[in-house]
């Protein structure tokens, strides 16, 4: 399938001088839901957006319910929170492993077995059985990770603890009204290039933790979320913040839902006609914020001192991986004369 991200970075003297991001993400695929019976759509979006399928299914379900005037029961909310937590653990682990493996990070056979066991435990319907013991093998048991653990080696591979990075501008539930106004007014055009006045917000683990923009903090925030989600599963979803799922109706009667997917806040806006078929369906995914051509990744790069050659490319790929695109990307790195 065509589509994806292309990042161009220019280095001079080991310092990033410019960065440009081009996107060919197929954001209007969600139009395939229009005309379908509303009851079929949650399963269809789970199949279409397979990487974060459960988050999409939950967002679609609650948005469609809102559009049809249906309420969300506490039992449904708790079941959805469990699914979101389970998907969060699995996607954070998978994304971290694949990014690191692509950069030559060594994972031992025992750690690979534990990783695979954790991913099996987070599949739909697996209910997290065996998750805690698998995470413990990786150094994710709540205690400070041992120096030789997968977790600590990964943190060390990303970079030092403090590098003077400032706090991130995180997209939060308080931004929902402004985002939904954009989606209500401009639909797919807003979903393709979302924006908020005077801001370049990012969404995802670091935004949810209000940390600093140091790469190590990004990975630490992801690991912290794995632990929080695993604890939440153990406690039967009693402690999940209400903001993990928001839903309601817009002024025109459309239903919306915003859910905290692994990569960040995911929005669905939909309308249902009198025959019960979907008349409108718009999806705004976290990647559209984080990989906006004028967004947080592009602005995080200029000025970074990355060295040259392979070392510079590895640090860029770590950073991109920690922003966690949900589509493939290509990187074009050019190096000029020393400044």
């Amino acid at each position: 399938m065509k589509g994806g991200l292309h990042l161009e970075v220019a280095l001079s003297g080991g310092v990033v001088r410019s960065a440009q991001l081009r996107s060919r993400r197929p954001v209007s695929l969600c139009r395939a839901m229009v005309g379908r019976p509303a009851a079929d759509v949650p399963a269809a979006v789970e199949r279409l957006y397979a990487l974060c399928g459960r988050s999409h299914r939950i967002a679609a379900r609650f948005a469609l319910d809102a559009a049809r005037g249906r309420t969300m029961t506490e039992a449904a909310r708790r079941e959805a929170v469990r699914d979101l937590a389970t998907e969060r653990v699995g996607e954070h682990l998978r994304s971290t492993f694949t990014t690191a493996a692509g950069l030559g990070f060594a994972t031992t056979p025992v750690e690979k077995d534990a990783l695979r066991a954790a991913l099996i435990a987070t599949r739909p319907g697996a209910k997290g059985a065996g998750l805690a013991s698998a995470l413990a093998v990786l150094g994710l048991d709540g205690a400070p990770p041992a120096p030789a653990s997968w977790t600590m080696r990964m943190l060390d591979a990303v970079g030092p603890e403090a590098d003077g990075a400032g706090p991130v501008d995180g997209l939060s539930p308080a931004d929902d009204p402004a985002v939904l106004a954009g989606l209500a007014g401009s639909g797919l055009a807003y979903a393709a290039l979302p924006h908020l006045p005077l801001r370049r917000p990012e969404t995802g683990p670091l935004a949810r933790s209000f940390g600093t923009a140091a790469p190590r903090d990004r990975l630490a925030a992801r690991f912290a979320e794995i632990l929080q989600a695993a604890t939440l599963l153990h406690n039967d979803a009693e402690e999940a913040p209400k903001s993990w799922i928001a839903r309601g109706t817009l002024l025109d009667g459309s239903g919306f839902a915003a859910v905290e997917s692994p990569r960040g806040r995911l929005y669905h806006v939909t309308a249902v006609d009198t025959q019960g078929r979907v008349a409108r369906f718009v999806v705004l995914a976290p990647t559209e914020w984080n990989f906006h051509p004028d967004g947080p990744l592009v602005h995080a790069l200029p000025g970074l001192r990355l060295g040259t050659g392979t070392a510079a490319e590895e640090r860029i790929r770590w950073l991109v991986g920690l922003f966690d695109p949900c589509v493939a990307y290509t990187l074009d790195l050019t190096e000029g004369a020393d400044a």
């Binding site: 279409l48 957006y49 493996a101």
Partner: protein, 78 residues
């Protein structure tokens, strides 16, 4: 957009690798994150890794939905 695509496993290779057919194109992918995959199975593929195993019927439904979605996308430039 969270997309991942079904691919048909055509050959298992050493070191948790496999050859798959994706939209008619042969590719080498990793099976490191899945278990019990055999030749003839479909897997959901993302950035070179198999994420989950699918049966043939589910894979066909997913591919048909992707075709519909791509057709809908092609009609709406954004």
């Amino acid at each position: 957009m969270c997309l991942a695509i079904p691919a048909l496993v055509t050959e298992k290779l050493p070191d948790d690798m496999a050859r798959v057919s994706l939209e008619g194109v042969s590719k080498i992918i990793s099976l490191a994150l899945v278990d019990d995959v055999a030749v003839g199975d479909y897997v959901i593929l993302h950035v070179g890794y198999a994420l989950t195993r699918l049966d043939a019927a589910e894979a066909e439904r997913t591919l048909a939905l992707l075709d519909e979605a791509i057709a809908a996308h092609d009609g709406v430039p954004v």
